[in-house]
Symmetry: C2
Subunit: 195 residues, 2 copies
């Protein structure tokens, strides 16, 4: 079963990388360290991931794929109902982001100085922007939302989510962030919904 063993090796490398990045930081964690932690050879490592950066990007893709699955599963009922369902995803996003915050910060630092990294980091924001603009348009079409500028309304939702995740991760004990997320969306919907 070489295909299955290959998948297992890949998963072991990713798990080891998460642990090493959390302990030593992204910059300080070496490929050697990750290989020892994962119990794989450097040959096996480079077979799966050409660079340490490729691992980071794979981890980020996995995290975003998880959010996408959550967003799709929350897409039930009317658009306002779906938006309220989606706020229930935020506690999971907080939890996943918290472990990886230092790694994200290191990567943003690289992104601020490196065009390629920057493009990889900015893509998800634009992806979510389009996702929510489409959802707002669906709401206008179904007659549940006012005919607002869908791009602006999407930017409000994405900015609010980014701001909530950032504050929830940086200052977890200053508020009940799950409750804040729900009530924030509630206030926002009062301005968007046709009553």
């Amino acid at each position: 079963m070489p295909q299955q063993r290959s998948e297992e090796t890949r998963a072991r490398i990713l798990d080891a990388a998460v642990r090493r990045f959390a302990i030593a930081g992204y910059d300080a964690a070496s490929v050697d360290d990750i290989c020892i932690e994962a119990g794989v050879s450097k040959g096996a490592f480079y077979h799966h991931y050409p660079t340490k950066q490729a691992i980071f990007l794979a981890l980020m893709q996995g995290w975003l794929a998880m959010i996408d699955i959550g967003l799709d599963s929350a897409r039930q009922g009317t658009v306002p109902e779906a938006l309220m369902h989606m706020t229930n995803l935020l506690p999971g996003v907080f939890a996943a982001a918290e472990d990886r915050l230092p790694m994200f910060l290191e990567f943003w630092l690289q992104a601020s100085r490196d065009e390629t990294v920057w493009k990889a980091m900015i893509a998800p924001y634009r992806h979510y922007q389009e996702h929510f603009a489409k959802l707002i348009e669906d709401g206008i079409t179904e007659g549940s939302l006012k005919p607002v500028d869908s791009q602006v309304a999407a930017q409000v939702i994405v900015s609010l989510a980014v701001g909530l995740v950032l504050q929830g991760v940086l200052d977890p004990h200053s508020a009940d962030w799950a409750k804040t997320a729900r009530e924030s969306m509630h206030i926002l919907l009062k301005g968007l919904v046709i009553s």
Copy 2:
């Protein structure tokens, strides 16, 4: 005029530090580099700032003081009017934040591993949270805003502002961020204002 000369030295050190942090990064910029750039002795440097960290904190305080002055000057008319005025501050915040983004990211990285730095970084969020909660309460008292939970409404405003600044700095060309800030507040106010 020793007092005036002392102020000039302090300003020269801060200007030099901003330039060195932008070029080399906060971690890589040495006190020696900053002294050479500023044309001051190390003795003079340490007379004003005990550590490189003290300079970063002074820069951050200066930036926050500027935002506070802007918020106070925008406090005119009713609370909804004041909130709309305040969105005009965001382009200036974007501009100031853009130069300093790598430095902020490096500092957040330290904050994620160092309790003292973390406390210094989190204080402004809590300060703005209280500032906006007070403003929302004023709006409820004056009869312009619905009787919402002022802490939650303040969190929405702060999260939205944080999210807008972050996206505006990281992806400046993907939207007209000044317009987005105004229209975001407009949507939010529709949910808060008594019509």
